[in-house]
């Protein structure tokens, strides 16, 4: 079943084009990584999917129009916009009470169970928690909701490595069950590469790459080319070439594995390397920089 279906999604802010005819289809049970440079339209696309912003074009999320049916859609969709949106005055117990009071698919016992594994106290206010604990609290609330679609927009921004790792581990182990769909946008591409089933690159408001991870691994290969094979390798038209410790690393699109194996050690490239290769210099910025 199709979870998200977007056709020709457009959105402009004044003269700035945020979405320039974006097409995207996400099937049920997938984990999609939405990756793009700052200002590429990631957040706008996610906001449109969540019914937070108006758009032109066709968009159906779980069969609903998100803009006109946000409140009904949210019974089946969860999202974490980023770690800093839980109100600072809110007590942990109040957060549980409120979500339990308004959400028909919230399982309070489950949320309490997740919280029991953390050091978060019921009487604490959000402002008293560390950033990592706020993310844990938000995740505990979200994971206790029996939703069909979970949207994460930079969910681990500003968290340290341990919290980031724990965040994705519990997401995979305690939440994902193959019938739910997860869409993640983040700058920390390396950390989510292994959990994704699909990847989409977005640039200037359009999807420039949309494939499953199996296709990605079959199509893109990286070769550590020995100096004697440099010319032969270049003849196969790598989409990117860089130097590391004196060795040439070339990234190939759609070249057969056997051909490349003759040139040197072949491996699956990281999404980050492909991202840099495809987006060019404009995408080169510190990983994890604020969106």
């Amino acid at each position: 079943m199709t979870c998200i279906e977007a056709r020709g999604l457009r959105k402009t802010y004044g003269k700035t084009v945020a979405l320039a005819g974006l097409d995207l289809t996400v099937d049920e049970g997938r984990i999609l990584g939405l990756i793009g440079p700052n200002g590429a339209g990631k957040s706008t696309a996610l906001q449109a999917i969540l019914g937070l912003t108006q758009y032109d074009g066709e968009l159906k999320v779980l069969g609903r129009n998100p803009w006109t049916e946000r409140d009904r859609l949210m019974a089946d969709v969860c999202f974490i916009a980023d770690v800093a949106v839980l109100p600072r005055w809110l007590k942990v117990s109040e957060a549980l009470d409120y979500v339990a009071g308004v959400h028909p698919r919230f399982d309070r016992a489950k949320a309490e169970g997740f919280l029991a594994k953390t050091t978060i106290k019921r009487a604490s206010r959000v402002r008293e928690l560390s950033k990592g604990m706020v993310a844990q609290l938000h995740l505990a609330l979200i994971m206790a909701i029996d939703a069909k679609l979970l949207v994460l927009d930079e969910p681990t921004l500003g968290l340290d490595l341990l919290y980031r790792k724990a965040f994705y581990d519990s997401l995979l182990n305690d939440y994902f069950d193959r019938s739910r769909t997860i869409v993640i946008s983040t700058h920390q591409v390396e950390e989510i590469q292994h959990i994704l089933t699909d990847v989409a690159f977005i640039d200037r408001g359009k999807i420039v790459l949309d494939c499953s991870m199996e296709d990605f691994e079959a199509r893109y290969l990286e070769v550590l080319v020995g100096p004697e094979h440099l010319a032969a390798a270049r003849a196969l038209k790598p989409i990117q070439e860089r130097q590391l410790f004196g060795r040439g690393i070339m990234l190939f699109d759609g070249v057969a594995h056997e051909k490349l194996a003759a040139l040197g050690e072949v491996r699956t490239p990281s999404l980050a390397d492909l991202f840099v290769a495809m987006m060019g210099a404009e995408a080169v910025q510190p990983q994890g920089a604020a969106a």
Binding site: L50, G51, L52, T53, Q54, R70, D71, R72, L73, M74, A75, C78, F79, I80, A81, D82, A84, V85, L86, P87, R88, W89, L90, K91, E94, D97, Y98, V99, A100, G101, V102, H103, P104, R105, F106, D107, R108, A109, K110, E112, G113, F114, K117, H138, M143, D146, N173, D174, Y175, F176, D177, R178, S179, R180
Partner: protein, 325 residues
């Protein structure tokens, strides 16, 4: 019990059974409670002022026996000379002075609630955008209409209820303290019960609170609209825009219609509700002088309510579109 393991026990059959917590949800009720968690001043401010009022009353109690004796002497003198109008006036004033602390406490509790309501309305739809928590609230299945209605219910319904619920026990405590002081001084405390006209205040208070809520609803609606619309300093827009328009009207046309309209809205609530004939001159002297029919047939009331509904509709429209700032 391990809820976490329950979650993963059967990952391939997620639709088998809905979670047990599928109780009936009550978004409006919980949204109002949420507002009170965030804005505890809604009840803390009136309670604090009530506490201060009680403290002040406690310190003033040493003068009570004297006031009661004076009232008795004046009443006796007036009874002996019923034809003397001046004496009757003195007697009435002496008796009335016994009621002043009760009126005063009611007034300051009301003013505290009013101040909180004004600041609450100005922040209601602004604060959630400023701290980005709107993204969390919007991630839950609560419509913008429910949210806006729950926010507008706080100053117009909850706040008056708080005033009522705080005022009556405060009056009772004051009455008890007064009674105790008079008894200790060998005076008959019943004079207090008859002259403090508490029953009158208690009957007039709910009327006043409802009527003032209706009368001031358009102001509340305007402040909420500004809080939904303004990017920063809603207080400046909320107060500045109407005054600026008045100034513009005066400079451009040398007329003051808008200014008169504003003054009528600000002062009219009390004048229409609490003075005889709504003329703003003679205050009503008890529930028997309340003329609800006249109040409810005021065009100003209904025009204000239409404006209020328009503001609230605009708030809902804006909340759907406004993004964090």
């Amino acid at each position: 019990m391990s809820p976490a393991s329950d979650a993963t026990s059967d990952p391939l059959a997620p639709d088998a059974a809905p979670p047990a917590a599928l109780a009936k949800t009550r978004p409006f009720y919980w949204s109002v409670r949420r507002e009170l968690w965030e804005n505890r001043s809604v009840y803390l401010a009136p309670l604090t002022v009530a506490g201060l009022g009680l403290l002040g009353f406690l310190f003033s109690l040493h003068g009570l026996p004297h006031a009661v004796r004076a009232a008795k002497v004046a009443a006796a003198a007036s009874a002996a000379l019923p034809a003397d109008a001046a004496l009757a006036k003195v007697a009435a004033r002496a008796a009335g002075s016994l009621a002043i602390p009760y009126d005063f406490v009611t007034g300051v509790i009301f003013l505290a609630a009013l101040a909180v309501a004004i600041f609450y309305s100005l922040a209601a739809l602004h604060g959630e955008r400023r701290d980005r928590s709107i993204l969390f609230w919007k991630s839950l299945p609560v419509s913008d209409l429910t949210t806006v209605l729950s926010k507008v219910a706080v100053p117009l319904v909850v706040q008056p209820l708080v005033v009522f619920v705080v005022v009556i026990p405060v009056h009772l405590v004051m009455l008890a303290m007064g009674t105790a002081v008079l008894s200790l001084n060998g005076l008959d405390p019943s004079v207090l019960w008859t002259h403090a006209h508490l029953l009158k205040i208690w009957l007039t208070l709910p009327y006043g609170l409802v009527v003032l809520s209706l009368w001031y609803a358009p102001i509340c609606g305007w402040l909420m609209l500004v809080s939904a619309w303004a990017k920063r300093t809603p207080i400046l827009w909320g107060l500045g825009a109407p005054l600026g328009l008045c100034l513009f009207e005066y400079l451009a046309f040398r007329t003051q219609y808008l200014w008169q309209l504003l003054l009528y809205r600000l002062r009219g609530g009390f004048a229409e509700a609490f003075t005889v004939g709504g003329e703003g001159r003679v205050p009503i002297n008890g529930p028997e002088q309340i003329d609800l029919t006249r109040f409810l047939s005021l065009p100003g009331l209904w025009a204000g309510l239409v404006f209020f509904v328009a503001c609230i509709a605009a708030c809902v429209w804006l909340r759907r579109r406004r993004e964090p700032i």
